[in-house]
Amino acid sequence: MRTSARLTPGANRLQGGRNPYLFVSPFFVLFAIFFLVPTLASLVLALYRWNGVATPEWVGLSNFRRLFSDPVFWQVARNTTFYTLASVLILIPLGLVLALGLNARALRFKRMWRSIYFTPVVVSAAATSLVFQILLSRDAGLVNGLLGQFGLGPVPWLQSRAWVKVGVFMVVAWRTLPLLTVYFLAGLQAIPKELHEAAMTDGAGSVRRFWYVTLPLLRPVVLFVLVVVTLNSIQLFDEVQILTDGGPANASATAMHYLYSRGFERLRFGFASSVATLLFGIALSAALVEARTLGGLGIDREG
């Protein structure tokens, strides 16, 4: 086979022999052990009661029944919905506006501004959360200090059940917004300049150009960002655990925090797996949207 491939170079794309399988095998071995098996195990474990030591006990769907009758679960579901909606409705439009600003022809020192804007992407959630504990402190924090200038506050950002979600969201926003801006800016830069020039010759103002040229062409990026934001919100954990540990009285806890505390602090592995299974279902629904995005990204693309 290999000889014939050499004689007819055009045909040898079909004859990699065993090599392609060897090339992808390190990935698939690790993938099977550390991804596929745990995923399936998670689905099965949801039907058992297990503390990690004793023999697992089959309980059928009772984990789910207990889950749905737990008021804390519904609190956590509401909180996660809050973070997701706030991210989608506030961060996505804001990220787009920031990207438009950073892409504006009138802007000077573009490179410097972009570097500054993107820096939070690389800083850890841990470092961010710790410094925001200071910035959001009730009596001496910068945020309340600034509000005080206008006669407002002080707001107990991390102590009150009413405000804590807003406080946590501000921290998440500081780290997430730059990432979304990176995506949008890349999307804007990929739009051919000629399209804008053509629209301008036709007399379209900047608002109309944005609405009829920029936005339609940005659709795939918007969709991608939407999925990233949704998945990130479903998985939100670091900031919540460090800033408030879900408190006060679960007012800021997320689904992930619930899963973590039930699984690792109370060692209810089966129950926590039922939470994971539910998250899996939600993530998969979001994934259907993403599959469409990625579908346009080149599953069928040939070199």
């Binding site: 090599n19 804007y117 070199g303």
Partner: protein, 279 residues
């Protein structure tokens, strides 16, 4: 005339708005750095003020004396180094095969890779932890490295970068009788330089900053990584005053390398991040 003025004002507004946003972006970072020179009392003095009264390094001293901070730093560097070197190699091998070699089941296997990207890793957290404890990997460097050296996103990324490799070059090497692995090593890898750099940086960052996994599988002060160690300083201090000064010193030292890396290699990072978003 008035149109011109309007335009000028518009331009000015864009510049001012962007500058204001930049200040909001930088304030938390500046606060972190400057607070690291303040005592905890000074940090929480009203009205809040950025500049410390004096530039003193006492937080840094007490951080290094009172906490195994140096150890956390070394742990973080070690785990990151392993992942940062291994991931680009494993992923480029597979990504190149998916892009440039033909084999039965290629499409199906790649769809499997894609599907796994969108499933949140947290979903498999519990079974992964159980797996780790059953094979005795809890609190070992294995748990921090081996499960993470073949991320699906990396395969996707390397596949995208591999499309740019000209097929003629590979054909020519095959006609010269080079083995497939040699082609990969001597021709493909050098051509994938940009993609490898992008992936290495993304991996370094995600490993350096990862929180929930080390929180679960690492035990004891000595084996912590930087984020977990830092966040733990707060919990540890329960009862006594939280050492905010030391925590800010630690956060500053932990953030410094990634910020420097970002400023040097921004281009690669952004190209890697946006490969999935644009197209």
């Amino acid at each position: 005339m008035s149109r011109l003025i309007q335009k000028r004002i518009g331009h000015l507004a864009v510049n001012v708005a962007v500058a204001v946003g930049a200040v909001i972006t930088l304030v938390p970072l500046a606060w972190m750095v400057f607070s690291s020179f303040k005592t905890t009392t000074e940090i929480f003095t009203y009205p809040p003020w950025l500049m410390p009264r004096e530039l003193s390094l006492f937080n840094y001293e007490s951080l290094l004396r009172g906490f195994p901070f140096g150890r956390w730093y070394l742990n973080s560097i070690f785990y990151c180094a392993v992942v940062t070197v291994a991931v680009p190699l494993v992923c480029s091998l597979a990504g190149y095969a998916f892009a440039k070699l033909s084999f039965r089941g290629r499409r199906g296997l790649f769809l499997l890779v894609l599907a796994s990207i969108v499933i949140p890793f947290q979903v498999i957290l519990i079974p992964m932890f159980i797996l780790m404890s059953q094979i005795g990997w809890v609190d070992t460097p294995y748990a921090m490295t081996i499960p993470w050296i073949a991320p699906a996103l990396g395969i996707f990324l390397m596949r995208q970068y591999s499309y740019a490799i000209p097929a003629e070059l590979l054909e020519a090497a095959r006609i010269d009788g080079a083995s497939e692995f040699r082609i990969y090593w001597q021709i493909v890898l050098p051509l994938l330089k940009n993609g490898l750099a992008a992936l290495a940086i993304i991996q370094f960052l995600s490993s350096w900053n990862s929180y929930i996994w080390p929180l679960m599988v690492l035990r004891g002060q000595e084996s912590m990584t930087l984020p977990v160690g830092l966040a733990g300083m707060q919990a540890q201090a329960a009862g006594t005053a939280t050492p905010y000064g030391e925590m800010m010193a630690g956060a500053t030292l932990a953030s410094l390398p990634v910020i420097v890396l970002f400023l040097i290699a921004q281009r690669y990072l952004i190209s890697g991040l946006t490969t999935g978003a644009v197209k």
